[in-house]
């Protein structure tokens, strides 16, 4: 009773308790209904450990992650670079904007069948889908970040005779950096979405194929364990992006004071 809990550990304990209660509720439901599609918690945990030791699991992830990583990184690289360029040059904007606006206004999922017909279901085609899902948001977020770089700083740097190239490096890029990080965060979410949509709805490969196999053969503990591993994957990406965000925002003023 007299243990002095810090606010931080109280919060953590509450979160852990909440998750524990959720698992307990799940287990209670599972043991009462005996449904084939609501497996026992321990069965799922066992399946999860089994999967970590199986080659099927890792092969599926390799198939899924390779196009994801390629599409994700290239979308961020291309989106950020083109976004910076377009934010700077009205001419570049006129050239590029119609394409991005087009892809922004039509749900990308409608293109998937066409892409598969045109390019097949190989690595290149799957990379392209992830890329297309992510690149549009990365581009728009970056471009608007550049467009809203503090004009007074641009005027100031011009008054001191800073040349175009160095103005870009010293004012535009650091000024747009918070937006670039937002672009990376949005793009990461979109890339995951692209990956899932493609594998579940269209091309049965990798983790998506495995999900289908487990579902169709009623192996629900394995199915749940696989979904849990996807959650771990998503969480890892999220933590990485958060780290990046915090790194960039460190020392910058915010509406709520200063980031530390």
């Amino acid at each position: 009773m007299a243990t002095p809990w810090s606010e931080e550990s109280k919060r953590r304990l509450t979160a852990v308790g909440s998750v524990g209660a959720g698992i307990l509720a799940w287990e209670l439901y599972a043991s009462r209904t005996q449904s084939l599609f609501v497996p026992h918690v321990l069965d799922v945990a066992a399946a999860f450990l089994d999967q970590l030791g199986s080659s099927e699991f890792w092969t599926a992830y390799r198939e899924t992650l390779l196009p994801f990583l390629l599409g994700w990184t290239s979308a961020i690289a291309v989106g950020v670079l083109v976004g910076l360029l377009v934010g700077l040059s009205p001419a570049a904007r006129s050239i590029v904007a119609p394409y991005f606006t087009f892809f922004n206004s039509v749900p990308l999922a409608t293109f998937l069948p066409v892409l598969v017909i045109a390019f097949g279901i190989g690595l290149g085609s799957r990379t392209l889908v992830v890329f297309l899902f992510a690149v549009v948001d990365v581009f728009f977020t970056t471009a608007s970040g550049v467009a809203y770089v503090d004009r007074d700083l641009l005027v100031m740097s011009r008054s001191f005779g800073l040349g175009r190239a160095r103005r870009f490096r010293r004012i535009v890029v650091p000024g747009a950096l918070p937006s670039i990080v937002s672009a990376v965060r949005l793009g990461t979410g979109r890339a995951v979405l692209g990956m899932v949509v493609m594998e579940l709805l269209l091309v049965s490969v990798g983790v998506g194929r495995l999900v289908g196999v487990y579902r169709d053969t009623f192996r629900s503990p394995e199915l749940y364990a696989l979904l849990a591993s996807l959650a771990v994957f998503g969480l890892t990406l999220l933590v990485l992006v958060r780290r990046l965000e915090r790194l960039v925002h460190r020392g910058r003023p915010t509406a709520y004071g200063v980031n530390s």
Partner: protein, 261 residues
């Protein structure tokens, strides 16, 4: 010497023409401190931008030292109303930014910047970030940044406009003291405070609105430094009062000309 010869600037917005400046001619002697004062909307900030060549006039010519000028140059440095400091860079980097823009190496520019930060009373704050400083201190960084490039002409756009009254007064006195130590540097300051203009200037350019134009150029007949004794004298107060009245009158005339639509 800065010469403005029949400077005019017309903006066109949705088909309508608007004369921000028209027929502006005056000269600023080398080594002099000139203030540009006028009611809001008289184009005084635009005029300062023209001298900095951050804006291009549609008519007329700007000459500095007898030569027509069309670009920002090494001979001029600007102090901005909203300070325009890089929020992601520390005080030292900010103060050295003008030198960096001009290609001065790191060690040298930081040494020079330190010296100028010391002049504005910011020694010890080199590694602070702008948001950790008060408005007055931020503008001190802005002034140090401008002085560090050793400009022939210092251009100031309402440098104390966003500061509270007390900070403003202290900054004015410190700037006056800094200025008295500068032998032949020329300064042009835009302000809407006549007291500030009279305290700091050798001459005051009175501007009027619609179109933005020069109403009068008044020489301030008081010696430097303008000690508390001078400022308290009846002559000084009469002079400042006279200019305030003219300014107020212009403002009222402008209001009277405003027809509600």
């Amino acid at each position: 010497m800065i010469e403005l010869d029949d400077i005019g600037m017309t903006f066109t917005r949705s088909g309508k023409h608007f004369d921000a400046l028209d027929g502006v001619s005056f000269r600023v002697e080398k080594g002099g401190f000139t203030s540009i004062v006028g009611p809001s909307g008289c184009g005084k900030t635009t005029l300062l931008k023209v001298i900095a060549r951050l804006a291009r006039p549609t008519r007329g010519e700007l000459r500095i030292g007898g030569r027509a000028v069309a670009t920002p140059g090494r001979d001029r440095a600007v102090v901005f109303q909203n300070f325009a400091l890089l929020p992601w860079a520390d005080v030292l980097t900010n103060a050295a930014f003008g030198l960096e823009a001009r290609g001065v190496g790191r060690a040298e520019r930081e040494e020079i910047a330190r010296r100028h930060l010391a002049r504005v009373g910011l020694t010890g704050f080199e590694r602070h970030f702008p948001h950790q400083l008060s408005g007055g201190m931020q503008q001190r960084v802005g002034i140090a940044r401008a002085l560090a490039v050793e400009p022939d002409i210092l251009l100031m756009d309402e440098p104390f406009g966003s500061l509270d009254a007390l900070t403003r007064k202290v900054m004015q006195e410190d700037l006056a003291a800094l200025w008295d130590a500068e032998a032949d540097r020329t300064a042009v300051m835009v302000t809407h405070s006549m007291d500030e203009a009279v305290l700091l200037s050798d001459s005051v350019v009175l501007m009027n609105t619609r179109p933005g134009r020069v109403e009068d150029v008044v020489v301030v007949p008081f010696d430097r430094p303008r000690t508390a004794e001078v400022v308290r004298s009846a002559e000084y107060r009469d002079f400042a009062g006279y200019l305030w009245e003219r300014l107020e009158q212009m403002h009222r005339e402008d209001l009277a000309r405003t027809v509600p639509t």
